[in-house]
Point group: C2
Chain length 440, copies 2
């Protein structure tokens, strides 16, 4: 039984057919089902029958890719990286190249689109969605988190999520709260599609794969650090923001340096034979350490460790922005909501006339959290009268949490925290800088 | 008749009493009424009677300020700067010092609070509002613009508006659209009140006065350029944004260098005797030129020129922000609005499900303009399907206009432009960079 083999798997009442994917664990199989989904299967609980040898895939690769066939065979010396597609520009480039429909996106498609990825890892391709990222919503965040968990538990040494750039920061935040991952989860995307000379897709993909192979367990966004093709920045998922509509270096860590920087040339060279390119990464802060492997002794640093997984989200949370002259009717629909995040002005203010409205929402049981449209800096409602009135009304301060991240966090906190209001003032996933100073 | 004299002015049916303020024009008098408002009075149409000599004011200055009395007398060699207060941290420092109520804010209060202003100009103090700036609204923008116009038409060589920092960018935008001013209109404020050692109020006030005396006619925001006390940045009112909740250098021009930089030490020194400190200003772009003086030959560069004044605003405009997972009910209240500005994702997108809603708003006669929550860069809805569908629905693109500025602009355009939708795609007051490239 080899990767590429077509198999039938019987588990109790459930029978699946599909193609066996590379896996670095001995305990789990990963099978790509004909519908495009991958399932991780506990080998001890399943009967597996090989229906067809995997030579089919290798032949197809040779036909289409012109000699890349050898790179999609499983090499036990290489780490395994799962490439999860959700759509967006970087994934659309794959579609352009293959003309393939969504469900057929797999490792071959990726290697045809970005041949530079070959030899760096064994790849598993997986599709969670094929949408432009403005259509992302909490239910897809959960599906995505579930897929990432399955990939890790079936032995992936790292996960790369290909995502549209418009809402990448929201999805990366969601996974930061939902997952306690023992391996890197690296979001990447493309600001310019592959048919443009200035496309960023190759460098972003190579850097993301190398970041996913490296020795840490952060949930990151990996995108161009500058307008040149020299390095990608590694942003913490909860602190990153798309700050430009079109530039390749649109993504920035707000209020701090990015977690790290990965040098493209050094990473591409060091990681070409499947080695980890840790020397190509310069960390500005100590990253979260990779988890211990559950079955320990794999030479590829097999990390099929437990994945902390808290997928519940209370989607009944709204983000509302205050601007001068706004119609108070804008907030009428908030009645009965479980949570509201306000994007206030300055240290966290709204028009005095709205404070009574907020008090009513809190009285009705909503958690109302304050953030700032300044984006940088902390809210502090103890300085001015308006702020003190807001605190009296029951508003909770979200520190320096970005408004979009605060919305995702509140969805998560309402479903998972003992005290969601309290949780909004504490750091859970790098989204909030805890400081002793009231404000500075 | 001298500044400081108490006068009675008869104009037809209207009689006012108050204190004569410094004026550099021969055609207009400026009288501070007992209610705190200043009125500009065409001298040819009024009978003026001196009720009491101005010695009173000088005495009071000497009592309270310890020797600054001479600086509040009118010096015909000095330019005249109007200081308009709307409230906020910088004005609250004045209140702290004097314990005065709003209506008593005048030149003496300012000089007591910031003695470094003495000798740089003849000052007129004027109160438009005394509110924290989160309570600003379009009706106060109109009052403020009216006051600025009156000050300029009664001979002010420049106007400084003291404003809370929370919504300064909205008010500065509003005045940029409403006024076509022949002299500088300079907004300034304070991120830290005067009772804090790190207060920025003195440097900001001095730089703002010197910027208002200088040779240009821009509507600016003048605030700390860095965290040091070395220079203030001069931001175009329509391109500036408060990007930090508390830092003294919170204000930034988005997507470009500020219009200019004014060196604190150089400006303080050069302007100390009433000279213009133009050499202390480094312009990054050519500023709008000062208007020709209507009566020409005043040695102080008297510029009592015509003020272009278009004060109508259609306040029935909302700014709404799209975020993933939002409840479509959030937009139900938009029915019947005259204008809607959307803060979309990336190049200007919203969830596909909202496009029909937008089409309905447009069909009902609303102008719906798209901006981006990225803040930097242009919207461009010709690249992806969602964008093209939005254009088909009748959305107009606001280029690289900031979302908050776009809201103010749409209020103005609906009341003043022949075709408000078309105006949103053109530059009216430096808010939009017109480019031939579709996007970059």
């Amino acid at each position: 039984m080899q990767p590429g083999d077509r198999v039938r798997v019987d588990r109790g009442d459930v029978t699946n057919e599909g193609v066996l994917l590379p896996s670095t664990t001995r305990d789990h199989l990963v099978v790509k089902l004909d519908g495009g989904y991958n399932v991780g299967i506990d080998r001890t609980e399943a009967d597996v029958e090989v229906l067809e040898s995997g030579a089919r895939d290798v032949d197809e690769g040779a036909d289409a890719g012109g000699g890349e066939a050898s790179e999609i065979t499983f090499d036990s010396d290489l780490p395994t990286i799962s490439l999860i597609s959700t759509g967006g520009t970087i994934a659309s480039t794959v579609d352009y190249r293959t003309g393939a429909v969504t469900a057929q996106f797999d490792a071959e498609d990726v290697l045809r689109a970005v041949p530079d990825l070959a030899g760096r890892a064994n790849y598993r391709g997986r599709v969670v969605a094929n949408i432009l990222s403005e259509n992302m919503d909490p239910s897809i965040w959960r599906e995505l988190a579930t897929a990432v968990r399955e990939e890790i538990e079936s032995g992936a040494d790292g996960v790369v999520v290909m995502h549209g750039t418009d809402t990448m920061q929201y999805s990366a935040s969601a996974l930061s709260f939902i997952l306690d991952s023992p391996v890197p989860v690296v979001f990447t995307g493309s600001q310019r599609s592959a048919d443009r000379p200035s496309s960023d897709n190759v460098m972003n993909a190579v850097c993301a794969v190398e970041a996913a192979k490296a020795d840490h367990a952060e949930t990151l966004v990996c995108m161009h650090a500058t307008q040149s093709d020299d390095a990608c920045a590694l942003h913490r998922g909860t602190r990153v923001r798309k700050n430009h509509t079109s530039r390749r270096d649109a993504f920035e860590t707000v209020g701090a340096e990015p977690l790290g920087l990965i040098d493209y040339e050094a990473a591409a060279e060091a990681g070409a034979d499947g080695e980890a390119a840790d020397d190509a990464i310069e960390w500005n802060r100590e990253p979260i350490a990779r988890g211990e492997a559950a079955d320990g002794d794999d030479e590829n640093g097999d990390t099929s460790a437990e994945v902390g997984f808290y997928p519940d989200l209370d989607a009944d949370v709204e983000l509302v922005k205050f601007t001068p002259g706004m119609d108070p009717a804008a907030w009428e629909y908030l009645d009965g909501k479980d949570g509201v995040v306000i994007e206030g002005t300055g240290l966290g203010h709204v028009h005095t006339d709205l404070i009574g409205r907020i008090a009513d929402l809190v009285d009705d049981g909503a958690v109302v959290a304050m953030t700032s449209q300044c984006l940088e800096g902390r809210v502090c409602d103890r300085v001015y009268d308006t702020g003190r009135d807001l605190l009296d009304a029951g508003v909770v301060e979200a520190g320096d949490t970005l408004p979009g991240t605060a919305k995702v966090k509140l969805m998560w906190a309402l479903a998972n925290a003992d005290d969601a209001a309290d949780a909004m003032g504490r750091d859970l996933a790098g989204e909030l800088t805890e400081e002793s100073q009231p404000w500075r």
